[in-house]
């Protein structure tokens, strides 16, 4: 598809470095965890999880996101998608554990809401560096139980999401959904592995994308060559066992870079 032209209808300051851009196109059929390619015209195009059917939530980290931060209500940008596979929805009555870190909240907030709507019982562990960086606290608490951790202890438990996770009986949860910076996800992966529950947990991965439609091969994971853009971006823990996940990624040229 050619990029859709979307107009910005609202901009919400979520944290000092994170904004939600609400746009005038609704991806009715999007599954939580699917992503869109966001085109900051004249600069670059980058993948982002949808934070709702008509919004993206962006952390200012590079050229493309800086360009987006210059945009105002009424301005437009390009969007392709939604692409890839999202998180698996629970059955009614099933218990769901969500582990979200930093801007990894973007695809997990709509997932929490979809789980609640389907009659599941939701518990979220939300982590950030400090209180001001906690995003979507209200959305998660409205969807179910919420535990908060901050690295500096300015809100909730001081430390990492894994501190709460270690104290939980993970076997109670039919679905476990994880998204956040890769070192955080790798730590969650290891805790769940220790509990013997990692195979069915789901992790949303980030890799450098070029085509975003499963053709070019820039985002393939070792050792099985799974494409993050098309076979993912959400993978089961089983698919990630003994993989590059948590160890290395690749830059735009294809060179390995340590996580």
């Amino acid at each position: 598809m050619r990029p859709l032209n979307v107009n910005i209808e609202g901009i919400i300051e979520e944290s000092p470095s994170t904004r939600t851009f609400v746009f005038d196109h609704c991806f009715e059929a999007a599954e939580p965890g699917q992503f869109v390619m966001v085109w900051a015209r004249g600069v670059d195009e980058v993948p982002m999880g949808l934070s709702s059917r008509n919004s993206i939530t962006v952390q200012k980290v590079g050229e493309a996101t800086s360009k987006l931060f210059e945009l105002k209500i009424g301005d437009s940008f390009g969007l392709r998608g939604p692409y890839g596979h999202g998180f698996t929805l629970p059955s009614p009555g099933e218990k769901v554990l969500i582990v979200a870190g930093g801007v990894g909240v973007a695809p997990l907030a709509p997932y929490a809401e979809a789980c609640q709507a389907s009659g599941a019982e939701v518990r979220t562990i939300l982590g950030a560096r400090s209180a001001s960086e906690l995003v979507f606290k209200e959305r998660f608490s409205e969807a179910g139980l919420l535990d908060i951790t901050t690295d500096d202890g300015t809100e909730g438990t001081k430390g990492f999401v894994t501190m709460i996770l270690e104290g939980l009986d993970a076997s109670e949860y039919g679905k476990i959904a994880v998204c956040g910076p890769e070192p955080m996800m790798a730590a969650v992966f290891n805790v769940l592995k220790g509990k013997g529950e990692v195979e069915r947990a789901e992790f949303s991965l980030h890799r450098y994308f070029k085509c975003a439609i499963g053709v070019c091969g820039a985002c393939c994971l070792d050792p099985y060559g799974l494409r993050v853009c098309k076979d993912g971006p959400v993978f089961s823990g089983e698919q990630l066992l003994d993989s590059e996940f948590g160890k290395y990624t690749r830059d735009a040229s294809g060179r390995r870079v340590k996580i």
Binding site: R41, D44, E45, R80, C211, D222, A252, R255
Partner: protein, 301 residues
């Protein structure tokens, strides 16, 4: 087994360069799970290259438009990926290479030899990389010199991939043959462009790029047809092949084998599907072998 330029292919379908070929694991997956008879890597050059900014590929109604910009980790980093591909792929692994001069091509080829590629494919045809690809591949003298230089540094079969963005592709094909090419591969993408009318911006980060997919198949069939008539060496057909019917058409135009690229968008096992379809067709029509229909259209006058 299917013999081509001394390589033993599992079947006559080959993964085209630039598609799912950045890592060894990905190449292996296309061979094992996709059923490709051989695989060609992403084009590898002398230095790491990030490629063009995104968008670098979009799907159009008629095909795909891309301008990747030859992203690659350089030969010194890629030889390890070649080894990974070769250890388990169980099919020939062809290294696609590029450079700005005959010397650079030779440097990359020699640098990849420790990774034990089964053959080299010379990219003298990428339409959107300044100083590389078609910039050298539209000059017959350069194509001959590059081919000859790579033949000098290794004994491996050398395929030369040609650009259709020239007035006479057979002149370039003859130059490759004169340089000692073991086969030519036709075609690389056709120059193209798309513009976002809401903003006026060209969509690709590089502004323009190359068209592949169904739209270019008739262009590829004609190029293969002309090259088959003009050359002694085998022609490998590529451009818009996504079904066994496309493959048979390309073979009847004169292709000894077909490469498949963009069509992996639909399904990875497109290779198994095409090769099974070719077999069924040959059986139904009473042909003994693929070789019986190579260039068949040239006999129908």
């Amino acid at each position: 087994m299917y013999s081509l330029t001394g390589l033993e292919l599992k079947n006559p379908t080959i993964l085209a360069a630039g598609v799912l070929g950045t890592t060894g694991a990905s190449l292996r997956r296309v061979a094992l799970e996709g059923g490709a008879g051989a695989v060609v890597s992403k084009s590898i050059g002398p230095e790491p290259k990030k490629g063009h900014p995104n968008p670098s590929m979009i799907k159009l109604d008629c095909g795909f438009l891309n301008a990747m910009g030859l992203p690659n980790p350089s030969y010194s980093e890629f030889k390890g990926e070649l080894e990974i591909a070769r250890t388990a792929a169980a099919v020939p692994v062809v290294a696609s290479i590029f450079g700005g001069s005959a010397e650079e091509f030779a440097e990359v080829a020699e640098g990849l030899l420790p990774g034990k590629p089964d053959a080299f494919e010379l990219n003298v045809s990428c339409p959107h990389a300044e100083g590389y690809g078609a910039a050298v591949g539209s000059n017959p003298c350069l194509v001959e010199a590059i081919t000859a230089r790579v033949k000098e540094v290794s004994d491996l079969p050398v395929w030369v991939k040609l650009t259709p963005n020239v007035s006479d592709i057979t002149a370039i094909g003859k130059a490759a043959e004169a340089g000692g090419a073991d086969a030519v591969v036709a075609i690389n993408t056709v120059k193209g462009m798309a513009i976002d009318i809401e903003s006026g911006y060209p969509i690709l980060g590089n502004r323009s790029g190359g068209l592949s997919g169904p739209a270019v198949k008739p262009v590829a069939v004609k190029c293969v047809y002309d090259l088959y008539a003009a050359l002694e060496v085998p022609v490998i057909g590529v451009g818009g092949v996504s079904t066994w019917e496309d493959a048979v058409e390309m073979i009847m135009a004169g292709a000894s084998a077909v490469q498949v690229g963009s069509a992996v968008y639909e399904r990875l096992d497109v290779f198994s599907e095409i090769s099974a379809g070719i077999e069924t067709f040959l059986g139904r029509k009473g042909y003994g072998d693929v070789k019986d229909i190579i260039g068949l259209a040239h006999e129908r006058v």
